[in-house]
Symmetry: C2
Subunit: 389 residues, 2 copies
């Protein structure tokens, strides 16, 4: 078990490295590995580069174990993927969707996509060993149900697990989308960082927290709800009822609102043209205009970055993370946004908290949520099922 988990988290290592990591003797490690290889759980593939002597074999989970399904439900999109036990993406489909349509409509579509993607890989429902799903709201991790999700009220207490259990024998694990982005980065990093944050900026703003090397979900599963941190006591009213939440002032819809206002006020020809052509202005369009030097677009991006940086400064003073990774739709807006966030954080946080702080876009990019869903599926499947395949 421990050895399988370690293999999964180290994405391929040598026998020798594995033994060292677990504090086993070489002979104990060899015996254990031989047993797991016999059971078809581990495989030795390829050869690791070695500086001399016998070459060490590269260990990985046996691809014959089966496949994982990762699902990332965003506020405005669905992503479904079939993944190998090593999280290699075997098939992937992404399409727009509106989460407010409710679980009946969305999960029916997810179910169809799962079937199609499995067929495309030549796999069957029986070969699925674990399913991981991320959803854009607070989740009770124990029962896998959403709790009072502000963006998707129809999903409250709906059992995603029971719904998918009809087609699949594999266990289904549900978590908040940003927690899964954090879990995905933790896996990518092979747990080399212990304390970091992933901020997702899209329709809303959320935060995944890694603390002491594990995803932290809080006392009621609500940790990371940074979108409703106040950045302006006299700001506009948010859907949560309070004034000046960072989400209502700086997330995707706020950027659209500022851009439409700038276009209508005649402050930008580029934005006005976009509004005429498409009837609205997306954050991505503001990014395009900014890269072409549009002053109004630049000002909007700087304002959003500065407000998010102001929220982050509070969080950084409190949590003192080593890294903050920013992900979600906002990352496609360009480098000016990141620069504005950084400036705002470094100006407002204490020197000791920021001395070694790195702020960057998420390395896994748009696949972060999907990879995280795969990590959840594999990790929890290993825990739930024990050694037996």
């Amino acid at each position: 078990m421990q050895l399988l988990e370690t293999t999964f988290w180290s994405t391929g290592g040598s026998r020798h490295g594995m033994a060292e990591r677990l504090g086993f003797s070489k002979s104990k490690a060899n015996a254990l590995i031989a047993g797991l290889v016999d059971q078809g759980l581990l495989a030795e593939s390829g050869l690791q580069k070695s500086s001399g002597g016998r070459r060490a074999e590269n260990l990985q989970l046996n691809v014959a174990l089966g496949v994982l399904i990762g699902i990332d439900i965003g506020a405005t999109s669905i992503d479904v993927a079939v993944l190998g036990p090593d999280l290699a993406v075997l098939a992937h489909h992404s399409e727009p969707a509106d989460v407010r349509d409710g679980p009946g409509v969305l999960l029916a579509r997810v179910r169809t996509l799962m079937r199609e993607l499995l067929t495309r890989c030549g796999s069957s429902a029986k070969e699925v060993i674990g399913i991981g799903i991320g959803v854009p709201g607070p989740v009770n991790f124990e029962n896998g149900q959403l709790v009072n999700p502000p963006l998707m009220p129809a999903w409250d207490s709906f059992s995603i697990r029971d719904y998918l259990r009809e087609d699949y024998a594999a266990p289904v694990f549900v978590d908040n989308d940003v927690n899964l982005m954090a879990l995905g980065e933790l896996w990518r990093l092979q747990r080399s960082l212990s304390n970091f944050l992933v901020i997702k900026v899209g329709t809303g703003i959320g935060c995944g927290i890694v603390c002491h090397g594990e995803v932290y979900r809080g006392a009621a599963g609500a940790a990371g709800d940074v979108g409703h941190i106040c950045v302006d006591q006299e700001g506009p009213r948010c859907h949560c009822g309070n004034l000046g939440c960072v989400e209502v002032m700086a997330a995707g819809p706020a950027i659209t609102r500022m851009a439409v206002a700038a276009a209508e006020a005649g402050q930008s020809t580029a934005l006005a043209e976009c509004l005429r052509a498409h009837g609205t202005i997306e954050a991505l369009d503001v990014g395009h205009a900014s890269r072409e030097g549009d002053a109004a677009a630049n000002a909007i991006i700087q304002r959003a970055g500065s407000l998010i940086g102001q929220m982050l400064a509070s969080v950084v003073n409190f949590f003192n993370p080593s890294h903050v990774f920013i992900g979600g739709g906002i990352t496609r807006i360009g480098p000016l946004f990141l620069a504005s966030v950084r400036q705002s954080v470094y100006q407002r946080s204490l020197a000791l908290s920021t001395r070694h702080l790195e702020i960057q876009y998420t390395p896994l990019g748009t696949q972060g949520g999907l990879i995280g869903a795969g990590v959840l599926a594999m990790q929890e499947t290993l825990r739930v099922r024990g050694v037996a395949p």
Copy 2:
């Protein structure tokens, strides 16, 4: 080791309970316990109430192991105590002090107090098995040195460990004062809560964080520096250089400033009298006036509570703790302060984060830092020295 630590954290438990907690069989637990009793590390004392059959003995660390010293250095006070291995306070002394006088002056006084208190208990320097010290600034926990402490610049990089090593062979452990308050509460709770905060409001404002059942210190030891979270973008300038930090607007000195202003503006006879009599007004005086129904004093307390609640709302949205314990000098100001904090947090935080959130004064009260220093000393001594006494 594990058994000694478990005994320490459970503050006395039966053999049977101990075996269950560690997942040992009864016979394995009995053999281990017998060995530790023989070595003089564990003692069986008193009889636990039992619902029938043989009575289970109560296990505890042997008091003959030696004594601990706990030291709590605040911005304006020193507390030193001699404690038993079960953290019973054997002798305690508290006196005013100014941390800005520097480590030479303060630690010389601490050394004298340690000697006096040991004599009072009939103990010698040789019997001291561990020393724990809390200081009001950020600490590099590995080397026990303060890092850029804003309130006490003369302490920067000073080695408290080396200083005390001259008199004592016992290991010395240094941590931030609020981290130790959190550790003290964790011990009092016998680790029954996993995710909670301790906020200290005195000359400054700091926060101790317990996450996944352990004190969390952050990537650079700066976690919990909530005093410099901004609550008013146009507020007064703080010593850190930024505007509107909660510390400059709501900690002890801010309460004094508001009270003096109210007295001088003729808004309160009670506060004006206090100012005439003492030349200043302490937070405690504002508390007295408030309890006698003084409207200006009430308004000041409500303002401070509301600002601290506003900062806490951000932290609660991010961290979703089960409990927030408020400690430090402010607790003596009375119940109106706590009510104002609660109102402000419940109004500004999301329903899910606050549904089961408890906000109360620290149960350990003014002894929290001292008890925490004792817990640190005992816990780290057990870890460093292993089983041998």
